[in-house]
């Protein structure tokens, strides 16, 4: 493959993934509104299109057409760049996620190392890249709050930075057990290591990583600023949190970044704990030996698993009340972190004396 072909393929893959990802973000918003509506015993959006299915598009158009207000007191360069950082980081990290089986490429079945359809870049440090880009994403929120020159924004940004920095540790430590089992940071290798016996060898069941899964899930809710850890945008205390002063499309960019992060977190949880694109039945169902069926099935399982995560997200939001700030810090530092370290020790011992 020449370098020109490589660049063309990469550009094509990036374009397709970005479009699909943004659509998924838009429809995650609708999913949340519908589900929260049902949980609160009301209908949710129903008016635009059949079952309210066109609602995200109309919302997007509305955000574009609203007047873009920039308050006079803001520190302009950072105020303008903050939503770009937030959304950019949220969109970049999907680049290392494998969505489907890596054995399918332009020429039918392909071997390892050749071009495949369902991953933009297959790199040795995929997991760390996701963690690194998430940690850069803090700047979007922090700078937005600071540059807005508003006390609510600043408080929201400070809360958010403190929360993200605290829970990043528990998040990172909870993944060490999985990495120890796989012996690699490559997401494809981690999935293939779990996929040998279907559901029985998934890290969450056969790998005995259910504690790590719980820690990851909790820390991920905090990382994405979602309920019950949505203190940075607690509307009853801070009016809107870090995006109080943002309007129109800039606000929508923060909104999209939040939902994009939710999806990425769901993808990572799927890849690390639930066997990624592989079928839960393992070899009970024999392979179909057909490129299209294999590709479609792997995509189907992946999307189903990510969808169940998003469902859980919304369910938790509709059920649990918000943490208080000191409770949040205590929980993160005094419970999750020691628990994560214990999990690492236990996993290492298990692997060493097996």
């Amino acid at each position: 493959m020449t370098i020109l072909q490589f660049i063309l393929w990469s550009v094509l893959k990036v374009a397709v993934v970005t479009v699909v990802f943004l659509l998924a973000v838009a429809y995650t918003v609708l999913l949340e509104r519908k589900l929260v509506g049902r949980i609160q015993n009301r209908w949710g959006p129903t008016r635009v299109g059949p079952f309210g299915l066109l609602q995200p598009l109309v919302d997007g158009a509305k955000s574009f057409l609203k007047e873009d207000i920039i308050p006079t007191g803001v520190y302009r360069p950072l105020y303008l760049i903050a939503p770009i950082i937030a959304l950019g980081c949220a969109l970049i990290s999907i680049g290392v996620v494998p969505f489907g089986t890596p054995e399918v490429g332009p020429g039918g079945y392909v071997k390892h190392g050749e071009l495949n359809f369902f991953q933009i870049s297959d790199i040795n440090i995929g997991l760390l890249v996701i963690l690194g880009i998430t940690s850069i994403g803090v700047y979007g929120i922090a700078l937005a709050g600071w540059s807005s020159n508003n006390k609510y924004s600043l408080l929201g940004a400070l809360r958010s930075s403190a929360q993200l920095v605290s829970y990043e540790l528990a998040l990172g430590l909870s993944l060490v057990g999985v990495v120890l089992r796989a012996g690699s940071l490559n997401l494809r290798v981690i999935v293939e290591q779990q996929a040998t016996q279907g559901m029985l060898t998934w890290n969450i069941f056969g790998g005995m990583q259910f504690i790590a899964f719980f820690i990851y899930l909790t820390a991920a809710y905090a990382e994405t600023n979602r309920s019950p850890f949505d203190l940075p945008e607690a509307e009853s205390e801070l009016t809107g949190g870090y995006h109080t002063e943002y309007s129109s499309m800039k606000f929508a960019m923060f909104f999209m970044a939040e939902y994009a992060n939710m999806i990425t977190v769901g993808c990572v949880a799927t890849l690390l704990f639930l066997g990624g694109w592989t079928s839960p039945f393992g070899d009970l169902i024999p392979s179909f030996e057909n490129v299209f069926v294999d590709a479609g099935l792997s995509l189907f399982w992946f999307v189903l698993k990510v969808f169940s995560f998003l469902f859980l997200y919304v369910w938790v939001r509709g059920t649990l009340p918000r943490f208080r700030y000191d409770q949040l810090m205590n929980f993160g530092w005094r419970w999750l972190m020691p628990l994560a370290i214990l999990n690492i020790v236990a996993t290492s011992a298990l692997l060493a004396y097996r």
Binding site: L128, S135, V138, V165
Partner: protein, 188 residues
């Protein structure tokens, strides 16, 4: 390809460093430092040190610099007043900078094998082993003692920070202060 990327990111790195000095606003300076660090990470990546590159981003850009900006935001430091500096600084400063750069340049040029590495060389020599595995093997066999000593050093710093924070907090008896102390130490 490597050369083009090298020039782009070396340019970013230098521009960020110069901008860091020229800006009068502390938060812009902090952001320029982040640009410098991430460009350095890309340079590491091109040398084949992928783990080092991403560690640079996670540790420096993602954790330490967040703390920097956090402090700047909390103190709400404004624009610094720009002075022309003293005459001594101007007359001695520029020749001193030239002298230091000259010394560094001669050392680099004279050192054996220092300039022999090329961008396309890469670090992975052993077949089938990733960067991370090699690094882990070296850290836990050959360099075990320095590694452990460094860990103890960091532990001492953490304990010191906790002691300092708990002294301040003993007046108010609040949990909030202690939490912020441990948050800091976790970063270091």
């Amino acid at each position: 390809m490597h050369l083009i990327l090298f020039f782009i990111f070396a340019g970013f790195c230098l521009a960020g460093a110069v901008n860091l000095l020229l800006q009068s606003h502390p938060i812009t300076s902090a952001l320029s430092l982040i640009v410098v660090m991430t460009s350095l990470a890309v340079l590491y990546l091109m040398l084949g040190a992928e783990f080092l590159a991403i560690a640079q981003i996670i540790v420096y850009a993602g954790a330490i610099m967040v703390l920097f900006t956090f402090v700047v935001m909390l103190l709400n430091a404004g624009r610094e007043a720009r002075t022309m500096g003293s005459r001594v600084a101007r007359t001695v400063g520029f020749p001193a900078v030239v002298a230091i750069l000259a010394v560094i340049a001669t050392v680099i040029l004279q050192a054996q094998g220092l300039g022999a590495a090329r961008l396309s060389d890469g670090l992975t020599d052993v077949k089938g082993q990733t960067n991370l595995e090699q690094l882990g093997a070296v850290l836990f066999t050959k360099l075990l003692l320095p590694f452990e000593v460094t860990s103890v050093l960091i532990l001492i710093a953490i304990l010191g920070a906790v002691v300092l924070a708990s002294h301040e907090g003993s007046v108010e008896q609040g949990t909030g202060n202690r939490d912020q102390g441990s948050e800091r130490t976790g970063e270091e």
